[in-house]
């Protein structure tokens, strides 16, 4: 970036914090990250927040943003990918889940933590998964919906609930839990972290975006996955 110019501002979903901070630090990027919930970030950008790059945890809000005419055409791509896992405490055995009843039995009267099914991205993926499986109605009375996925994880880690659906990246970061079951990736929409550059983006934003794309390795260390190379919309 040119000397004296303001750093590039990246509005990013909170769950990316560790990874993104890491990338900015290790790659010495001249960028300032601003973390928040996807909904809040999207609205703020629509209201004129000075964001250059935006990374969300769910495509819906990116979709909405693109209707607000604040994103540069053709700048949208999927930066990262993630996966849903069923997490339990670190010493729990693997679980073979074939039906809602398997889960209910495993819960043993306790609750299953998930992100809010309609509000939190992880919850939205979980919701689709459970309803595709036809388990949702049976499980509904057993759910504990949290305002973000980290809290769902914390509940498992603390032993407040025996099981919960969280991201693979979360499990990787929390030694007190392990994945006891991994749902079939085809049974729910692919988890993608879409990135875009805003219309008013500063000079150099593109370079930063490219640097992020190039930092897949660092993201991977934090438990995120690459977007499959064959997928359209993948950031190159």
């Amino acid at each position: 970036a040119p000397i004296g110019a303001e750093p590039v501002t990246i509005f990013a979903a909170s769950s990316l914090k560790t990874a993104l901070d890491n990338v900015i630090e290790t790659r010495a990027l001249d960028a300032v990250p601003v973390y928040g919930g996807s909904a809040a970030i999207a609205r703020q950008i629509a209201q004129g927040a000075k964001a250059d790059i935006v990374i969300l945890a769910h495509p819906d809000w990116m979709e909405w943003l693109s209707t607000q005419e604040v994103l540069q055409n053709l700048s949208r791509c999927n930066l990262l990918s993630n996966a849903l896992v069923l997490a339990a405490s670190a010493n729990a055995p693997d679980l073979d889940v074939q039906s809602a009843n398997d889960l209910i039995t495993a819960l043993n009267g306790e609750r299953l933590s998930v992100g809010q099914l309609r509000a939190v991205p992880a919850g939205q993926y979980t919701r689709t998964y459970l309803s595709e499986q036809g388990w949702l109605d049976a499980l509904r009375p057993h759910l504990a919906e949290t305002s973000n996925v980290r809290l769902a994880l914390a509940l498992i880690a603390r032993g407040e609930v025996p099981l919960g659906f969280v991201y693979a990246s979360d499990v990787a970061a929390e030694p007190r839990v392990r994945a006891v079951f991994t749902p079939d990736a085809m049974a729910y929409p692919a988890i993608r972290y879409p990135m875009a550059i805003t219309t008013n983006a500063r000079e150099g934003s593109v370079d930063i975006a490219k640097a992020l794309i190039a930092a897949q390795q660092v993201f991977a260390e934090q438990g995120f996955a690459n977007v499959p190379t064959q997928e359209t919309g993948r950031c190159e």
Binding site: A39, A42, D60, Q116, L143, R158
Partner: protein, 230 residues
């Protein structure tokens, strides 16, 4: 505006939680406010700080602390479970607890202001008439601070109706147990296009508080007149 069954359930649950939170925290608030206004003791400033903490800390932290203390695995959680059979985790009771804790500093402060304004001479008069300290408190001091009690209750109730961060962190959002108006509103605001439905709930929320405020104002006017001897 006709409420759907689901909305109705959320409203009644919110009301129940707010009422229980306010009413149950009042006695404790009165006690703490009394200690802070009238007593000098070791640890008074610590108590003062603890009371104010929920105001100072982000609600998530308070909620997280509640989870650690009153969750299933938490020390107090177990005590309450075994001694009184009260479970907080993922229950409306927990939501009430969170709301109560969050509103506590507001209630305590208002009541404390009340205590500081009471004419000590009237309390002495009560004692000479044979009333013990406790009876004087109940029959003289307390009635004289009703305006402050009402203010405290209104603040506590309103906060309880609006509390969200600590509640959802502590007891998650479970329909019929802990899905309150604020968490329902929050949910709706998280998805694109949810604004219209959210607005309905916001309107309900406002309507409830309008009612509560109206009642409290009438009571406050009467109380003010009463304690001024008119």
């Amino acid at each position: 505006m006709i409420l759907s069954a689901a909305e109705w359930a959320i409203v009644t649950l919110s009301l129940r939680i707010a009422l229980v939170a306010t009413l149950l925290s009042l006695p404790f608030a009165i006690w703490i406010a009394w200690l802070l206004a009238r007593r000098d003791f070791f640890g008074k400033s610590t108590l003062n700080i603890i009371v104010h903490l929920p105001l100072v800390l982000p609600p998530v932290v308070t909620g997280y602390a509640l989870l650690l203390l009153f969750g299933k695995q938490g020390p107090f959680g177990e005590v309450f479970e075994t001694l009184f059979g009260i479970t907080f985790a993922f229950r409306w009771t927990g939501a009430a607890l969170a709301a109560a804790i969050m509103g506590f500093p507001l209630i305590v402060r208002a009541i404390r202001l009340g205590f500081e304004g009471v004419d000590h001479g009237l309390e002495e008069a009560g004692a000479t008439l044979g009333a013990s300290k406790r009876a004087v408190f109940r029959r003289v001091t307390l009635p004289l601070i009703t305006p402050a009690l009402l203010t405290g209750a209104v603040l506590g109730f309103a906060k309880a109706m609006g509390e969200f961060g600590a509640t959802i962190t502590f007891v998650a959002s479970i329909p019929g147990q802990s899905e309150t108006l604020p968490s329902a509103i929050y949910t709706l605001l998280q998805v694109p296009g949810g604004e219209a439905d959210a607005l309905r709930l916001i309107a309900i929320s406002v309507a409830v508080s309008v009612l509560a405020l109206a009642i409290s104002e009438v009571l406050a006017r009467r109380a003010l007149q009463r304690v001024s001897g008119q």
